[in-house]
Symmetry: C2
Subunit: 228 residues, 2 copies
DNA sequence: TTTAGTATTTGAACATGTTCAAGCACGCGG
DNA sequence: CCGCGTGCTTGAACATGTTCAAATACTAAA
């Protein structure tokens, strides 16, 4: 879709979105008012609401943009990488790379996460699409590796949750370039992949297997599958 | 502190708080306006703000109330329980018991959790006191058990995090009496305590130890200690 | 080109969280 | 009893998210 095919509406929507993000990045989410955004984009207040039902909706539109960029980047960087560890590394690190300038207002994404009724809850029904898309990337990451069938079912949801936790840590990380987050992430990924491999080795499998099965069953009973 | 010693202010504050909670429980947090609360409590709008700097502050005052009740209940129910599993069970289940009627507006507690700047973030500096109090209960729970020194350092923070996750699951749990949450919780606690015990057994310690050490080190480097 | 219909845009009006200057009341020293 | 200060209370005013009826711009059929 190039500029010529964009209707006036699409251009206005894009203008409002990018203007809003610029202000959010510069001044933070709270401080920036809808009137500020409209004024900076040189449209009426109502125009912003014509394209975005709420201020939070802008943040979710931003997250859509992030998700598309992420999927594209990941598929590009995956070329040549076939190991599980490397593929997961690409997924996680590239995500943080995309988000790196937006830590200041990223918190707005989680604002209604604990309210099941709210349409913008990260865990709610209103965001099922976004979640599914995000988990699909994790499913792709582990697709062609030698991971058991059960794990293939549960890992996408589990990894998605880890990824959420990492973003949360990322938001709070004040070390330069968020080095602490990247270091922690590498540690977590090393551990995760090694644990998966270890659980397949003949030596410890007898000990680990029962635990693993119990974890899997618990998660399944809790409804913690990829179809979450 | 009985009624006689309460100043007029303390009584008004209490009246506003309890009125607000009644409305939150009945109509939800969003729907209930500050004007509603003030009208129901038969005071002026400003009176509510005299005692609570914001609508969210009421939720945090509620959480203070919860915490006091929880500490009291736990210390009562602990009498006679000395096993780690039982003590943790008391802590977690009694917490859910206290929260059981408030699932509807409990989400408001987490609203600003992802924004480090916000004074009411569950992870932020503004709520350090509450967090410390909450972790103290977990520290008490494991205090007299045979757990390694390192684990004693990290478990309170880890358990506090698990407890947050359980509350989140609890909020979303629509099964009758939130049975799913309680079942999941028992599974998690069984697993947790057994894993701790297992890691002390001579048989598997050589295999588990390096993993365990890495996890502990990672958490420590991430700043994930009880002093969080 | 004209016209009917749709998409877009406007800005005033509304609802609600929050602030604040002013008023009230109660206790205490004189 | 008076005056005075502190703590408490008031409600109008303000800021901002949101709604909406009306105005305008655009598109496509006739």
């Amino acid at each position: 879709m190039n500029l010529a095919t964009k209707s006036a509406g699409e251009k206005t929507r894009e203008l409002i979105l990018q203007t809003a993000l610029r202000l959010f990045r510069g001044c933070g989410f709270e401080i920036t008012t809808m009137r500020d955004i409209a004024r900076a984009a040189e449209v009426a207040t109502g125009a912003a609401y014509y394209y975005f039902p709420s201020k939070e909706a802008i943040v979710f539109a931003y997250y859509d943009q992030v998700q598309r960029a992420h999927a594209e980047t990941v598929r590009e960087e995956w070329k040549g990488e076939s190991g599980l560890r490397e593929r997961l590394g690409v997924v996680f690190h590239s995500k943080l790379e995309i988000l790196k300038d937006d830590r200041r207002f990223l918190g707005a994404l989680f604002r209604y996460s604990a309210d099941p009724q709210h349409p913008l809850s990260v865990f709610g029904k209103g965001t099922q699409m976004q979640r599914a898309q995000s988990m699909a990337i994790f499913r792709e990451a582990i697709a062609k590796t030698s991971i058991s069938e059960e794990a293939q079912q549960l890992l996408p949801a589990a990894l998605w949750l880890v990824h959420l936790g990492m973003i949360l840590y990322f938001i709070y990380d004040e070390s330069s370039d968020q080095r602490k987050t990247h270091k922690l992430l590498d540690g977590v990924l090393d551990l995760l992949t090694q644990a998966i491999e270890l659980s397949d080795s003949a030596l410890v499998r007898p000990f680990v297997q029962p635990f693993q099965n119990r974890v899997l069953q618990m998660l399944q009973e809790a409804g913690w599958t990829a179809e979450l």
